[in-house]
Amino acid sequence: MDEEKRWAIFTFCSSLIITLTIMVIAVFAPLYVQILGGIIGSISVVAWIYGMFQGDYRRLRFSLGLIASLFVLSLLDQIWTRTIANKFPIQLLGFLLILFNVETMALATSHRKLHLNQYLSRGQDLARASWKIIWSKIAALGILFSGCYLLTISTIYIGLSVYPLAPVMGDTSIYLIAVFVILALFITLKEGSPNDHEVNRDLGRG
C-alpha cells in the first residue's frame, strides 16, 4: 500500500479517537459546554487532521490544547454544581483519552518526518519498521490506558464499598498521602540510579 494511504488511515483512526474524546467530554456536560464542544471540536479535528498530514507538532498541540480546555471547563462546571461524583467515570475516560491522544501526537510527530523524508531505497525498510512501531505502540498504549482506567475505577468503587465498614477509607487525605508516597518513591528510585551522572553527561546535561 502507498505510504500516503497508510498515513491517511492512521490520521483517520486518530481523528476518530479525537472525535470520541470530544464527545465523551461533552456528552454529560451542560448545554453551553456542548455548544462550545461542537465549535471547539470541529476546529480541533480540522487542526488535528492538518497537523497529522504535515507532521506539525504545533497544530497538533493546539488541537489538544482546545480539547484540554474543554475538559477543564467541564470539570470546573462539575465542581461548581457538585456533580463530579456522578460524572466521574465518563470524565475520567475523557481525561485518559486526552492522554492517549498526547501519545498519538508524540508518535505522529516523531514518525511523520521519517515518512516524509524517505530518501533512498533502503528507506522503505525504515518505513516498514516505523509502521510496525506505530501500530504496536498504539495497541500497547490502548491496553495500558484501558488497564489504568479499569484499575482506577475499581480502586474508587472498592474504596467506596469498603467505606461503610472502615469510614477512614472515605477520607480524601488518605488517598492524597498514598499518591504522594508513590510519586516520591518513584522519583527517588529513578533519580538515585548510580549511572545517572554518566547518562546525564552523555545526554549533554552537565
Binding site: L75, D125, S130, I133, L141, L144, L183, F186, V199
Partner: protein, 419 residues
Amino acid sequence: MAFTKKGLGYLSIAYCFVAIAIAFREFYLAAYVIPIGLLFLISNSLTSVDLSGLKIERKLHPSRTFGGDPIDVTIKVTNVTGRDLKDIEVEDIVPLPLISEGGLNSVPLSLLREEALEWTYRISPAKRGHYTVGPTLIRHTDILGFYEKGIRRVEQNSFTVLPTIEKIGTLDLKAKRIGAWAGQVPSRRVGVGTEFYELRLYNPGDELQRINWKASARTGRLVTNEYESEHVTDVLIIVDTTEDVASSMFEFDLTEFQLTLAGSLSSQLLLQGNRVGLTIYGAVRAWVDLAFGKRQLIRILENLAMVKTGPALLPMSYAVESVALALMPAKSLMVFISPLLNEDTVNVISSLAEKGYAIICFTSTLGEVKGIEPRALAVRLLSAQRRANAIRVNSVATLVEFAPDVSLKSQLRRQTRIG
C-alpha cells in the same frame, strides 16, 4: 535515567489535581492522580534496557568531494544486546555548517534480537573545508517517554570538500628550466616535438617524412625539418591568501576564485606531465613538495581545502621566498596567485625574478563599482592599489589578469603562450 519534559508535565498535572482536590475538598479530583501514578509505575516497570550491546556503524560516501557535491551518510544499527529493543532513537550529530539534503539523521527505532536496520541521509557542505559527522547519540525512553537514557556511540567520521576545479584546456607554457622527461613545454633544443625549430641538410638515416620538399626544391639539395623538443617542467604554485578582503565588498568570493584557479592550474599542469608543488601563504601555511600524478593533485586539493584567509605570522620573504630558494631548482617556474593588494607579495616576486626564476602571476581584477558611497570608494581604492602593484609585477614577470565572472577556460584561451 532522567525525567523528560513530558514526564515532568505529567507530574505537574498530577500535582495540580492534588492541589485542586485539597482546595475544593473534593475526593474525586484526587482520584485523577491514580491513573497518572499507574502510568508512571507501569511504564517504569516495563523499562530495563542495556544499550551497550547496540552496534552502530557509519559510512560516508564519498569520503572526499568537490564543492557543492553531496555526501551520503549510511547508518547501520544492529541489535546484539540479546533482547528486543523498543523505543530507541538514534541521532547522528550533524554540525551546523552542513545542510541536510534528504533523509533523516535522527530516526525512532524498535529492533528485534539480532535485527539490523540501515538507512541513508544526504548532507551537502556549503563550501570547501574539512568536516566531521558524529558522534551518534542513542536515546532510549520508556514506553510513555517519561524517562530518557542516552549513550554516545561511534566516533566522528571526517570528510574533505575539495575546492571546485574547472577544465581549462591545454596550457601553452614557456619555461627556462625543463625536466628530463618528454612533456609539452618547448625546450629551445632540437629533438622530438611538434613545433618547427630549424632546417638542416638531409643525413642518411633521417626519416623520409621529415624531408622539407619545398626547401629541397629551392636549394637543390635534400633538406629536413628539425623540431623543438618538448619536455616537462617544475612548477611551484604559490597562493597568497593573506588579504582577508570581505567578499561582500565584491560580487564574488576572491579567495574561492583564487583557490579554484590554483586547483584548476594544478590539475592541468599535472595532466600535462609536469611536476607541481604548492605553497599556501596566509592564516594557514602549507607546503606540498614537487611531484607528479593524480595523488599529487589530491594532495594539492586537500591543502587548498584547508585554506583560511588572514594575515600570516611570518613575513612572505621568509615563509615563501627563502623556502622556495632552498627547495626549488634554479630557473624553475613559479606561479603566483595573488590579489596583489599587498606590497610584500610584489617585493617577493621582484626578488625571485631577479634570482632568475620564471614567474607568472595570476591576479583577479576587482571589477568596477560606480557611485560615491563608502563601499564604492573602498573598492576603487583597492583597485587602484592592485593596479599599481600589477604594473610593478608586469615589469619583472608575466602578468595574467582574470575577471572572476568569466570562465577560466575562455580567459586562458586568449593567452597564446604563458611564461
